[in-house]
């Protein structure tokens, strides 16, 4: 088990290193004349050259990469080109906001999918068909469209929740709920739908396996068989889908945060993209990949706990 964890952590670190290095070189190599772009066409050549020196752009790329990497290892991602603020400072508050919303959406997706998926696969009939159609549509519609419909109908017309803004849960839990429920819903719809399909499908596959018949013949109730045996064995593929959903939600949060004007990572991504603020974007990439690696590790541990073959190999 210890070796298994160590192997997964090592794989995560290698993933993080390769992706961030590739992103660094792609972003800095394809950026063109950054200093010129930042100052605009009216600036003189001397001004541009001074700006380039100020940003360290006159150094060889490998040196800059080395500096960035050694800084990043100590949590220092440089300074923003646009606001001159340290990137770490810009990220720190926002990561928590986005992570809170996305993790809540993942949890809602997981629970919702287990309930709906096992219901659909064990009940059958119209319950199954309704859940199937709903999950198909839910998975097909982009999350930000759902976000806009929620703003329009639930927030503006019905006035149940705040249409925009964000209140930290540490400030006020009810305030957080009034601002976070709609964005979490917008993100979770696709998550619930996608994972439900997988849970339903794997449970149906699992239910057809021989051991289910044997357990029935041992006198176990169908409830025990469904929740302790079928669901457990069906959870592997469903957890993999949930991990992919987390990645998709991190991306979806960018647009959803824009719709609800939430000061999270997504909003920062949009503003720094518009100002071509490469150091901030690099910071965002690193944070995103770190989050994904940590979540994948958690999912791996859960898989190992559920599936002895993973654990014992």
């Amino acid at each position: 088990m210890g070796r298994f964890i160590a192997r997964r952590i090592l794989a995560g670190i290698s993933l993080l290193f390769v992706i961030t290095s590739a992103a660094y070189f792609l972003l800095y190599l394809s950026g063109g004349d950054v200093a010129r772009n930042l100052l605009g066409p009216t600036a003189s050549d001397a001004q541009v050259a001074a700006k380039a020196t100020e940003l360290g752009l006159d150094q060889p790329l490998l040196n800059r990469y080395w500096d960035w990497l050694s800084g990043a290892l100590t949590g220092d991602f440089g300074t923003s080109w646009a606001s001159r603020a340290p990137v770490t400072e810009l990220l720190s508050g926002r990561v928590a906001v986005t992570l809170t919303i996305v993790v809540a959406a993942v949890i809602v997706s997981g629970i919702g999918a287990v309930v709906l998926g096992s219901l659909a696969s064990s009940r059958g009939g119209w319950v199954d068909r309704t859940i199937q159609v709903a999950s198909l549509v839910g998975a097909a519609v982009p999350g930000f469209l759902i976000a806009m419909v929620l703003v329009l109908v639930v927030a503006i017309n019905l006035g149940w929740f705040e249409p925009t803004g964000y209140i930290n849960p540490s400030t006020s839990i009810t305030g957080w709920l009034s601002t976070a429920v709609l964005p979490i819903t917008a993100l979770a719809v696709a998550g619930v739908a996608g994972v439900t399909q997988q849970v339903r499908g794997s449970m149906l596959d699992e239910r057809r396996k021989d051991y289910v018949r044997t357990l029935e013949c041992r006198g176990l109730s169908s409830r025990t068989i469904t929740y302790q045996h079928v669901l457990r064995n069906a959870s592997g593929p469903a957890l993999n889908v949930l991990a992919l959903m987390f990645v998709a939600m991190l991306g979806g949060a960018v647009v959803v945060e824009q719709v609800f004007s939430i000061p999270g990572l997504g909003k920062l991504t949009v503003t720094s993209t518009l100002s071509s603020d490469v150091p901030v974007i690099m910071g965002i990439v690193v944070v995103t990949v770190v989050l994904v690696v940590i979540l994948n590790l958690l999912i791996d541990l859960l898989q190992a706990w559920l599936n002895p073959k993973v654990r014992l190999s």
Binding site: G124, R218, V255, K309
Partner: protein, 582 residues
């Protein structure tokens, strides 16, 4: 879209032309295909059919409600909404097509290579795929936008690269699966080159799942493209649904209807694409519904059961399918009695209905199957379905054919043995543990304490079958149903398991039904035998009389097919050993 984590479909008995037709035959699939076709047509002829001015701002006509001049009204710059909606169709469809082509080209080619050659191709490509899967595509697209500027087509190319792992994983899994099919080996031993094998035997299997995946990817591409434009990251000169959403969102308090039209377009096309993918999947995999038919047994009172039998079956009929006209009857008019302490062999070839009879007695017929006539009596008393379900694991027990697949891979052997004891026999944990140890010892497992802690994949097939036998006899049942209990085992293990079954049967005085195709097993353990053919019993009798004086021609044919070991073949004479053929 997610890569194929569900098992890859065993496609292929159908040919391509019928694929489209069978999708069209499903009402939902036909409607969805029609919607997609409509969008494609609009994308092509859009600029020639626009009713109004999509481009120029008219400050005297901003935010007009729908009316005769502007069917869907105008936007905040006074431009005709319907016209913009139509024009935007092209860029959406084209963008999706670009992403699709890039993703498919990269994903399928790498998937084919990695799946066919495995080795380091697999390691490298799979690692690459895991890199892309760890990145949210929206973040990558924005990062790319910050350096290459607002260009929709490049964005879609990059998106294609990011989602190519979906195609890669699908192709890889399908090819790696089919790679070890015997017909691929047969093609190699027929002298076909690798290229011909891929072209002839492998591409055809990949095609259907790839089409399904493509429909899904196209939907995601359209969605993400709209998301980018909604954020204002798109090309300002291009009219797009996402851009229209942005315009509408700015005017959400003044004219909420502006949001409705591009939303509708996006939802329609996304749902249509998903529905087509889903219909294709249903057609190809014939995925069964979750429904499980329930039995409609005849009024049980009409049967008189002789007293003193442990198990009696009367006029049993088992059928599949709900529709009376279309249902397939797999067992008909089956009747037999088994006395306490007697062993009955149910013999027949595959498809004779012997296993279905056993499942019907246990009330564990697979989905869609049910008893349509006749009855099953236990201890001389006709039972209802609920009563039989209640007796399972109490007075009736079951031993399966394939030992490995009949143990839950996620629980230890000890847990699987003790759970029914605690749930059904209401034993305490300590009692159940002691009982399980005693049973494992009884079925001849040398080190029961150790085996209790093992998982099924850590034991041999023979040991797994002993564990299953221990589980079956745990409640000292009166009736034991064994479905080909030795077929999956090696010959030497088979003999040991037969010995064990014989001993246990004698010890507990159980009535036993053994389903088998092997006359050696019948001769070894059975007192009586019932020969089944096409769902019916053709002959019943004592083992000795059936072997020595078979009455029915089918029984005689079966016994005649047994390989007698009277003589062996002579070594070929030298004249025929030239090894050259006609």
């Amino acid at each position: 879209m997610t890569a194929p984590l569900a098992p890859t479909p065993r496609v292929a008995t159908r040919r391509r032309a019928s694929l489209l037709r069978s999708v069209l035959r499903q009402p939902l699939g036909a409607v969805a295909l029609a919607v997609i076709a409509l969008f494609v047509i609009v994308a092509i002829i859009g600029p020639w059919i626009v009713p109004g001015d999509a481009y120029t701002a008219h400050l005297d006509a901003i935010l007009l409600p729908p009316g005769p001049d502007h069917i869907l009204g105008t936007d905040p710059s006074g431009r005709d909404v319907l016209s913009r909606l139509i024009i935007a169709t092209r860029s959406s469809m084209l963008g999706a097509a670009i992403a699709l082509v890039v993703a498919a080209a990269i994903g399928i080619s790498t998937g084919l290579i990695a799946g066919y050659y495995r080795g380091w191709f697999e390691s490298v490509f799979s690692y690459g795929a895991s890199l892309f899967l760890a990145l949210p595509s929206m973040v990558v697209l924005l990062a790319a936008r910050s350096v290459i500027g607002p260009n929709l087509w490049w964005a879609m190319v990059i998106f294609g690269v990011i989602v190519s792992p979906a195609f890669y994983r699908l192709t890889f899994a399908t090819v790696a699966g089919v790679r070890h099919e015997l017909y691929v080996d047969a093609a190699r031993t027929s002298g076909l080159s690798d290229v011909r094998i891929v072209g002839r035997h492998i591409l055809s299997v990949v095609r259907a799942p790839v089409i399904i995946q493509a429909a899904g990817i196209a939907g995601v591409a359209i969605g993400i493209q709209a998301g980018l434009e909604f954020l204002g990251m798109g090309d300002a000169k291009l009219i797009t649904w996402g851009g229209m959403l942005n315009d509408g969102f700015q005017a959400i308090y003044r004219q909420p209807w502006l949001l409705a039209w591009p939303t509708l377009a996006l939802v329609l096309i996304s749902v249509a694409l998903t529905l087509v993918a889903n219909t294709l999947r249903d057609v190809l995999e014939r995925s069964s519904s979750a429904r499980r038919s329930r039995s409609s047994e005849q009024a049980p009172a009409v049967y008189t059961i002789p007293a003193g039998t442990a198990l009696s079956v009367r006029d049993l009929e088992v059928a599949y399918g709900d529709d009376k006209a279309k249902q397939a009857v797999v067992v008909r008019n089956v009747s037999f009695d088994v006395a306490p302490g007697e062993v009955l062999g149910l013999v027949g070839e595959s498809g004779s209905g012997k296993t279905q009879t056993a499942f019907a007695i246990l009330d564990v017929l697979p989905g869609g199957g049910r008893i349509t006539a006749g009855c099953v009596a236990l201890a001389g008393k006709v039972t209802t379905q609920a009563e039989r379900a209640h007796e399972r694991g109490r007075s009736v027990a079951y031993i399966p054919q394939e030992p490995m697949s009949n143990l839950d891979p996620s629980y230890t052997i000890g847990a699987q043995l003790t759970k029914p004891m605690r749930k059904c026999a209401k034993m305490t944990k300590t009692e159940a543990n002691a009982n399980a140890l005693r049973l494992l010892n009884r079925v001849g497992i040398a080190n029961p304490e150790r085996v209790m802690g093992l998982y099924p994949h850590q034991v041999s097939g023979g040991m797994a079958q002993r564990v299953l036998i221990a589980g079956a006899i745990a409640t000292e049942p009166d009736v034991l149903i064994a479905d080909e209990p030795t077929t999956a085992l090696d010959v030497t293990v088979q003999a040991e398991v037969l010995d064990l079954l014989r001993d246990l049967q004698a010890e507990f005085g159980m009535a036993m039904v053994i389903v088998t195709h092997n006359f050696g097993v019948v001769a070894d353990i059975c007192d009586r035998v019932a020969v089944m053919q096409d769902g019916s019993i053709v002959e019943t009798g004592d083992v000795e009389s059936v072997f020595d004086h078979p009455q029915h021609p089918y029984t005689r044919e079966l016994l005649g097919a047994i390989l007698d070991d009277a003589s062996v073949r002579e070594l070929p004479s030298p004249t025929t050993t030239n090894g050259v053929l006609s």
